[in-house]
């Protein structure tokens, strides 16, 4: 799998223009709240993922507290405020005393990338052709516009338009521009993105099912045994309303619902699933430490480092935890992953910077009880 060896993100969420000059096999991001750690993982997911339309809509909904609102066709203002379908929140906006300013496009690329991902925020004329098919024609400068004006998001890859996201994709219809299949670009990878709060039950069950063949399930169980050595097996049974319930077989205790076993075990289950389904791809873990004891974090980074090499996975994680940083540093050494990178995202007014922290210095600072987060 070609690694993402650097990253340049412009116009995306909190990032006006962010450069991460060097990335490695394992990458960890620290930083205060609201410095864009989760946004960074989303950007990587969009960049490396296989289906831009659904990935973009997914990213839009992931942090939105409300369900996706309808994206209205006519007018982009509602009672004087801009109509904000959450997909528009993917675009970076600078506050300028409440005035609507021009929205810059989203650009996500490696440095010197032949395949940049580029998403524009553009008004289109919606016209019906003679067969009654709706066509979106971009409104160009100088164009005299008519009634059916609508915002849409053309998506470009390697300079070619590969998709047009319009309100017709909502809710959750993934329609490809001009009815063509989205061509896979060279760098497309499997992306396994574990959010801070974990996967939902349905996703967890379906990931577990995908591992039914081969050693994947046993590997996930091995990771869970880092937390509780008595775990023997895991099965899903049918619950009410077509739900499924994960049952753990625990030595000496029989079968116990996973959700009654504590946050740490559930988190480990999700990390194990995410890793096992990320083979030859990218693993994104938001708030790595959630629910995990410090000793487990160290052991887990070791296991991740080993798995990253064995299964050719590039890892990106975020954390607020000192123990996570320390586990990351020692696992990089232990597993001889010399290109591991640790960045601190810093915010100065509306600008976010990525500060490269050399692991040798971080190790010394932690040893001296100093702060790096």
């Amino acid at each position: 799998m070609p690694m993402i060896d650097s990253l340049h993100i412009a116009g995306f969420k909190l990032f006006r223009d962010l450069t991460v000059p060097k990335l490695g096999r394992m990458n960890l991001f620290v930083g205060e709240n609201n410095t864009g750690k989760s946004c960074l993982l989303e950007a990587i997911g969009l960049y490396a993922g296989e289906n831009p339309v659904s990935d973009i809509l997914q990213a839009a909904s992931s942090r939105s507290l409300e369900p996706l609102r309808p994206w209205q066709a006519d007018g982009w203002h509602e009672e004087g405020t801009p109509l904000r379908h959450s997909v528009f929140d993917l675009f970076h906006r600078e506050d300028s005393d409440g005035e609507e300013i021009e929205v810059s496009p989203i650009l996500i690329e490696k440095i010197g990338d032949p395949n940049p991902l580029y998403i524009r925020y553009q008004f289109h004329d919606v016209v019906a052709d003679k067969d009654g098919v709706r066509r979106y024609l971009p409104v160009l400068p100088g164009h005299v516009t008519v009634d059916h004006l609508e915002l849409a998001l053309p998506v470009f890859r390697a300079g070619k338009q590969v998709a047009l996201i319009t309100r017709r994709h909502l809710p959750w219809r993934s329609r490809i521009f001009d009815s063509e299949r989205m061509p896979l670009f060279d760098g497309a990878s499997t992306v396994s993105h574990l959010p801070a709060g974990g996967f939902d039950e349905q996703k967890t069950a379906s990931l577990w099912d995908t591992l039914i063949q081969g050693p994947g399930q046993e590997r996930v169980l091995d990771w869970m045994r880092m937390i509780d050595g008595r775990i023997e097996d895991l099965d899903y049974i049918a619950g009410r309303l077509r739900s499924r319930i994960a049952l753990l077989k625990v030595k000496g205790e029989g079968r116990i619902p996973l959700r009654s076993m504590g946050d740490g075990l559930r988190r480990m289950f999700h990390i194990g699933l995410a890793m096992a389904t990320a083979s030859k791809g990218i693993l994104l873990i938001d708030e790595f430490e959630n629910g995990l004891h410090w000793r487990v974090q160290r052991e887990l980074w070791d296991a991740l480092g080993k798995a990253a090499k064995d299964f050719d996975v590039q890892i990106f994680a975020t954390t607020h935890s000192r123990d996570c940083v320390s586990g990351f540093v020692s696992a990089s050494k232990e597993q001889d992953i010399t290109d591991s990178k640790l960045y601190r995202l810093e915010r100065q007014e509306n600008e976010i910077y990525a500060v490269d922290l050399a692991l040798i210095n971080v190790e010394a600072a932690l040893e001296l009880n100093g702060e790096v987060r």
């Binding site: 010394a364 600072a365 001296l368």
Partner: protein, 233 residues
């Protein structure tokens, strides 16, 4: 000594001098007092040993919003197993591992002592410090602070004391490690002065036992003065 060098003070000051041990720290402070007749403006910090110096530097490069404007390092060019030829080179490699990402180290270590600013273009909260490095004794030879002090003795004093110490070593009276020869010579010389029981280099410096110290340490003092502006308060 009057200079506070608690960890707290070291974190608070924007000019910091990191040294390998208390003896070196007190001696440098005394040297500045003797020559400039004033208290140094930097805060000295005893890092216990050479790794301690490098680790304290590391800490200051990765902590959020770095506060120090100037960090000076005094290291002995005496890494175990190094020779006259590679002593400076090996220290340079250690330094490069720690600061290479943000600072451009010169190919040859400057004999007048190193002073470098971070590479421009790093965007972050707070700025990285100016870093100064002196490799004892003179940025080119294997050795330590005592080698510099030896140079401040008159030829007769230096040669006489050295021959006695060497004789003691030959006659198996002395057990010190051969790499500590200059330490043994300086301490022997100190034991022959009045009073003979001065425990620290800094006391002997204050007493004026090292007659030519200003000349012998001129390049070193010049480096300190170029690094810390002003040098005294």
């Amino acid at each position: 000594m009057g200079t506070p060098h608690s960890l707290l003070a070291a974190h608070g000051s924007d000019s910091l001098l990191l040294v390998e041990g208390p003896s070196d720290l007190h001696a440098v402070v005394q040297l500045v007092r003797l020559v400039h007749k004033a208290e140094p403006a930097f805060v000295g910090f005893d890092c216990k040993n050479d790794d301690g110096v490098l680790d304290q530097l590391s800490l200051r490069l990765v902590q959020p919003e770095p506060t120090q404007k100037i960090v000076g390092l005094i290291l002995d060019a005496d890494i175990d197993g190094s020779t006259e030829k590679d002593a400076v080179q090996r220290r340079c490699e250690q330094l490069k591992n720690r600061i290479g990402a943000d600072y451009d180290l010169p190919e040859n270590f400057p004999e007048e002592g190193l002073i470098i600013d971070p590479r421009p273009g790093r965007r972050a909260l707070g700025t990285l410090p100016r870093i100064g490095v002196w490799l004892m004794p003179n940025n080119k030879a294997f050795g330590m602070f005592e080698d510099l002090l030896l140079e401040s003795l008159g030829d007769h004093e230096k040669n006489y004391t050295s021959s006695v110490v060497n004789q003691a070593k030959t006659d198996n009276v002395a057990t010190f490690h051969p790499s500590h020869l200059s330490k043994a010579v300086v301490r022997t010389y100190m034991a022959w002065q009045e009073p003979p029981d001065l425990p620290h280099l800094s006391f002997a410096i204050r007493k004026g036992h090292f007659q030519n110290i200003e000349t012998a340490c001129a390049v070193f003092l010049d480096w300190l003065g170029r690094l810390f502006i002003p040098l005294t308060r």
